[in-house]
Symmetry: C2
Subunit: 204 residues, 2 copies
Amino acid sequence: MYRRLLATAAIRGVSTVSSAELAESAGVNAATLRRDLSHLGSFGTPGTGYEVARLLARIDDALAVGRDWPIVIAGAGNLGRALARSRGFTTGGFRVAALVDVDPAQVGSIVNGTRVSHVDELAALVERESITLGVVATPASAAGDVVERLARCGVRSILTFAPTVVTPPDDVLVHHVDLAAELQVLTYYSAHHAPGGRESKASA
Amino acid sequence: MYRRLLATAAIRGVSTVSSAELAESAGVNAATLRRDLSHLGSFGTPGTGYEVARLLARIDDALAVGRDWPIVIAGAGNLGRALARSRGFTTGGFRVAALVDVDPAQVGSIVNGTRVSHVDELAALVERESITLGVVATPASAAGDVVERLARCGVRSILTFAPTVVTPPDDVLVHHVDLAAELQVLTYYSAHHAPGGRESKASA
DNA sequence: CAATGTGAATTCTTTCACAGCC
DNA sequence: GGCTGTGAAAGAATTCACATTG
């Protein structure tokens, strides 16, 4: 979130920002923000604030943004294709290097410049493209199998959108975005707090 | 997450589950799980565990799942259309009641049974369909405006996928799913921890 | 001055450990 | 015997408040 705020500030030509200002836009306490940033080292100037470009560069460095990150998307259905075309997946170093599906009817079609391959070619693709990040956009029924296949090919970091809990091998990180759960956050607040508080999903 | 695990257990015909078992599959401590569930009241039987169906019903009740939740999706691009067709958005009481876009070329097309309307019809649609939940799947540039429009129409809970930080009116809850940030979680771990730990995004 | 970085205080969360119950 | 629900302990995170610095 800080990264996105700083990027926006940079675009607007702001060169310096104080912890109070950033914290205000982020919706957090200023002391919390300063402590968060202190984990990256000391980058602020007392009396002035933080230099936007420098802080942004430091965050990008910590997140390893800017390095080339080839991705494989498993599942070329609606969601898989939408992700392959989405902004978040095609900027900031991310690059959809491969798309796989089980359905032979999908194989061969081109999505945003990338050809859909059969899932059996996964190992070869991962090898050839040096892929380390996997995205699962399959139905729930296929997710477990796909995660296992990815792990066997050496993909150690996986983002899944499949509506099911997957139990990954021990050395694989699986991060789950659950669309239904995200909506349930809203229904919970709608039903209870008849909302009053502000919010905004953080992400360091 | 607990909800999803319980639903899966129910489908498999499991009728009773202990906190240790559930905690194991969820990847959390058993005491944590018991305290989490205790917020919903006392539903376990000492010596036996939790009755799956009863606990699931209680969670659904707390989240107000099962009630009818008509949704409007703003933005009928790749992501908006994929969401309109996705499982998470069309099950568990959620129902895509309206789809709007600024682009006249999109207006009139049918996505998964719902007609795309022009964004100017938003107020009428929200009124007619009794919509309380909004989903933003527009480019970053349009997100702020759309959130404001939704708020003006009386939509108080909004889930946004737009790659930008939006500052909502005070009585509106905006929940943000940031695809780039989700990927950055993975790159961070890839670059640093050369991963070892397990994970799984919680959602209560 | 104005605003950082951080000890110290506070508040919240997680975990232990066990009395009570089935 | 086996497992829940929860006081009490341990551990984290947040926030205050201020000495320090450009």
